[in-house]
């Protein structure tokens, strides 16, 4: 009797421990599971993996990818998108990424000779990997890689006496992230509309969906354009240099006058004063 009871208890414990063991493998919080899983698509590069949104349209993602301009540099510019989206997916606060800053500098320099100074700034732009954006008689605007912005400004300041200096760093991180989110949402909307268009039965439905599809596509283009613009502005900083010619001392053309007083008494004025 005892032996039989002991055997039954042992069997229950064994079953319980087995269940517990299985439970410990599968039971952790969903968040933890997702954090663990997130790196997988990064490592194997599978498109539409863990970082992709889970809704039903997801399986069609790989075939749609080529039609969307995913190669836009702006998407990569601000930071690690996939990590961020993975973190968001896991319900965590996204880790802060580097701010997206647009640097602009306006300098006014006093120089004696404007022409050569303009040429020096233009040469500098080429030396640091930038380019000339605009040039006129007195001012020049160059674009330089953002990472060499400080160096370029410092070197330009050596070209003359700095009369005015205005450096602005505009933080467009927030705007860029908003655009990213809207871009992602609009992609999803467009995909959904395309699917609906395929399933549409009536002409009126097709027309309405196409109209909406056109609107969404237009909005996508606008957002992508803005993102490209911001990316370009952040990648290449803008430096405008205005040269103010330093006036040399005005040397009057010397008037040669003999020290002969009566020479100052010529003319009709004196003669006719009777």
């Amino acid at each position: 009797m005892n032996v039989r009871l002991l055997r039954m208890v042992a069997l229950l414990v064994a079953c319980a421990s087995t269940a517990c063991a299985q439970g410990s493998m599968a039971a952790p919080s969903p968040a933890f599971a997702k954090v663990e899983a997130a790196p997988e698509p990064m490592s194997d590069g599978a498109p539409g993996g863990m970082s992709a949104p889970p809704p039903p349209p997801a399986p069609a993602q790989p075939s749609r990818t080529p039609s969307t301009p995913t190669s836009m540099p702006a998407k990569r510019a601000p930071g690690p998108d996939k990590d961020a989206s993975g973190a968001e997916q896991a319900g965590e606060v996204a880790s802060p990424r580097a701010p997206m800053l647009i640097y602009t500098a306006d300098l006014t320099l006093a120089v004696y000779d404007v022409g050569p100074s303009l040429a020096k700034v233009e040469d500098l732009a080429k030396q640091v990997g930038g380019y000339l954006a605009r040039r006129d008689d007195r001012a020049i605007t160059i674009r330089v890689p953002a990472r060499r912005f400080d160096e370029a400004v410092q070197r330009i300041e050596g070209f003359g006496d700095v009369l005015h200096r205005n450096v602005v760093a505009e933080d467009v991180t927030e705007e860029f992230r908003d655009l990213e989110v809207r871009l992602k949402t609009l992609h999803a909307v467009r995909d959904r509309l395309e699917q609906l268009l395929q399933k549409a039965q009536k002409v009126e439905e097709s027309v309405a969906i196409e109209r909406e599809l056109e609107r969404v596509t237009g909005e996508l283009d606008r957002i992508q354009g803005r993102m490209k613009f911001l990316h370009d502005k952040a990648t290449f900083s803008t430096i405008t240099v205005t040269f103010s010619p330093r006036h040399t001392e005005d040397v009057q053309k010397p008037t040669f006058r003999l020290p002969v007083p009566w020479l100052n008494q010529l003319g009709l004025g004196r003669l006719l004063s009777l």
Partner: protein, 156 residues
């Protein structure tokens, strides 16, 4: 006898003194002009017509000593600097035995065109200026008289 000698010496000294203080030139007052006397100093002569044409003669020391070309150029430059005078003509003139240069300028006094003639005559001691000016119509009308006055000018 002594009185006579003293009187002669006194007269001579006075004559020399007066000559030294007077004009170093003999002006020639042309017909139509009247001599305005010595009210402009002892080294300046002026004559005028009733209608505004004026002739004037002045004498200055030739210091710094220059020749006719030098002084002509100086006057030409100075009139150019003065502004408002346009050189119309430049030519050589004779004043007795002396050589001179006549510069003719046009000038607008207000709305009325005027003419200004400036003749420079140079000797070792002096620079003589003969000026003639006035409204263009008057100066053109009296041009022969002005030319005559220059020709008959005599340095002492």
């Amino acid at each position: 006898m002594k009185r006579t000698t003293t009187a002669l010496l006194t007269t001579l000294l006075l004559a020399v003194g007066l000559a030294g203080c007077g004009r170093p030139f003999l002006p020639a007052t042309p017909p139509g002009f009247v001599d305005l006397g010595d009210r402009y100093g002892k080294k300046e002569y002026r004559a005028a017509t009733p209608d505004g044409a004026v002739i004037g003669v002045r004498a200055f020391e030739n210091e710094p000593k220059g020749d006719l070309a030098f002084w002509t150029r100086v006057l030409e430059n100075r009139m150019r600097e003065t502004g408002g005078y346009a050189l119309l003509e430049k030519r050589a003139v004779k004043a007795g035995a002396l050589e001179g240069t006549l510069l003719r300028f046009g000038h607008d006094e207000g709305k009325d065109p005027h003419l200004y003639h400036l003749a420079v005559i140079v000797d070792d001691a002096h620079v003589f200026l003969i000026e003639a000016g006035g409204p263009r119509a008057q100066i053109e009308r009296f041009a022969p008289q002005i030319e005559w006055s220059i020709r008959n000018f005599r340095a002492k």
